[in-house]
Symmetry: C2
Subunit: 383 residues, 2 copies
Amino acid sequence: MTREFFKPRLIAPGPVEVPPAVLEAMARPVPHHRAPEFVTTFTSARVRLAEVFAVPGDDVMILTGSGTAGFEAALVTSVRSAGSVLALQAGKFGERWGDMAARLGHRVERLSSPAGVDFDRDALTAKLRAMPDLSAVTLVHSETSTGALHDVRAIAELVRRERPDALVLVDAVTSLASAELRPREWGLDAVVSGSQKGVMTPPGLAFVWLSERAWEAKVERGSYYLDLQRERAAQAQGQTAYTPAVSLVAGLDVALGMLLAEGLERVWRRRGALNAALLAAGAALGMRQLAAHPSPAVAALVVPDGVSAPAVVRAALARGATLAGGQDELKPTLLRPSLLGYSDRYDAVAVAQLLEDALSDVAPATPRGVAVAAALRALEERS
Amino acid sequence: MTREFFKPRLIAPGPVEVPPAVLEAMARPVPHHRAPEFVTTFTSARVRLAEVFAVPGDDVMILTGSGTAGFEAALVTSVRSAGSVLALQAGKFGERWGDMAARLGHRVERLSSPAGVDFDRDALTAKLRAMPDLSAVTLVHSETSTGALHDVRAIAELVRRERPDALVLVDAVTSLASAELRPREWGLDAVVSGSQKGVMTPPGLAFVWLSERAWEAKVERGSYYLDLQRERAAQAQGQTAYTPAVSLVAGLDVALGMLLAEGLERVWRRRGALNAALLAAGAALGMRQLAAHPSPAVAALVVPDGVSAPAVVRAALARGATLAGGQDELKPTLLRPSLLGYSDRYDAVAVAQLLEDALSDVAPATPRGVAVAAALRALEERS
């Protein structure tokens, strides 16, 4: 048997496939970060980013670091030392923000929900009432580890009603530019994301938007690098407090231009439809979706009983594809294909077939010729 | 008069000119950060980086962030809360590390020296004796703001003699791969650098090496993102704790391979010679060097009396070049050309002529036909 040729493909909820024009922008000679040429690029990226955050005209900080750095920057800039923090956790990232707040010296309470399940409103109300001095609530919009989209809008409303002084800090790492997100209208206080997800740029940049009352905290102690007050003063001048990843910013500006040319609401619809197509393909193959309310950023699919998810990941790799699997305790059973990057209808078709082929490699009883048809039907329903 | 054509040139102590092969590596499709392909690249870069740090086989952490993030990571990982820190400052970056330690909640004493002047040994000894509970000393090897190379080896020796328990934390942002630096032999405890300097990669990555006793501090409170214990565990597996800037790592690996192919000690000699050529060109043009002991990373040149350094910077820009000037109070009088990046003998010649032309544009009495000859003589002396 001759070995078939396969192209490398990245089918994961970040890093994602990056448009060639973004890679090309990154490969240009490096500008000095104080030179007028870069100030223009940086300012353009900041203006565009505010539109993608649905807060046009507002300050959105661009930091060099991962999404985790961005979340820490939001916490250290807006929550005074030894505060009281409620961490809502229904997956790996929700847990991380609680761990981070504890390490930063805050008193942390946690409200947990099973993987993929939204938070019980009564339990949340009870928690909020039991924490009279609550400083902040941390939560994840699109929990990438479970594929769930949590109802940030409703949770923020509840927090505002019960504890109007508490800040609502939101991890939007994979929801930005994939799910509807309206920081001002929903009364959020921090929204954090990163470059390697919906804005289809390589990893290395974090983004943070803060509400006016979060900016007013003026925390005096803590991280120097992650203190956004200094960044805000510099970024208002088209500068950064410290040397930024200029090549990534050049790529980001191009990617944001592409998203805005398409239109933010159309991007949300496109990504919702593409993810629905992956979920439909999975269902046709006997896989169930883990999340009650799926995020458009990732299709978290539980493999059929008796099948090993890591074996499917290996079968996909033999077909050229880096297919994301589950993390930690979800590893044996979960696949997490995603079309969050530079993806269209035909990528959904290709990935549906690839899922079918890889699952068949591992489980020969897998139905054949069903995944693409199911994906196309899902796209049709959303069109 | 027809307008002459000029190529854009970057003549600054970071970001520096990056080899085309590095830019090309960054423009490749983005790998997943957990995929075997990237693990191989990352591991290769770490091994090579340890050689460039002159600590072959040791752990050098690669973080996504600026050099400032790297220095904060060294501090938060190795100095327990409410420590006692002595900041040696003779320029902008030395001051920054004192400010950072204060913001992190340490008690900070400072020993200052005028711009470009090394620290008085007697004053340092007195300071050390007056701080019996000293936790750490922060200092800068190559102070990029003044062009001075501080005698880290002698200072570390003095600290070890007077306060053997105090850690010596060194900013080697612009000295790495430009000046002789031997962390183990010199008894250092932290060495920090960044991607956009001697290792000629775009900005966005920070590097941190710690001594074994610095690792043993096991600090329990403080930054989550900048805690290197978690990074160390992950990086030993070829992973990172958080999604890294994979494209920059790909570029870094190529750049490090180029430096090691040349040989670390040859790189030190080359950069020393190129910088001596810039200083000699400056001297021939009536400019004096600011630093008593110049760093090979940057030629800090004080313009002749009556000349405005910012005007020379503007004249250079009209000739295509982004020429670094002085920062803060040194801005009116200082130029800081640098050949720290992808530079050879002919770049030294070109930059010498450019300095002569730009200075002449502003100060018509500038001697002509002298800069290149002076640069070549300096190169000859060092060959």
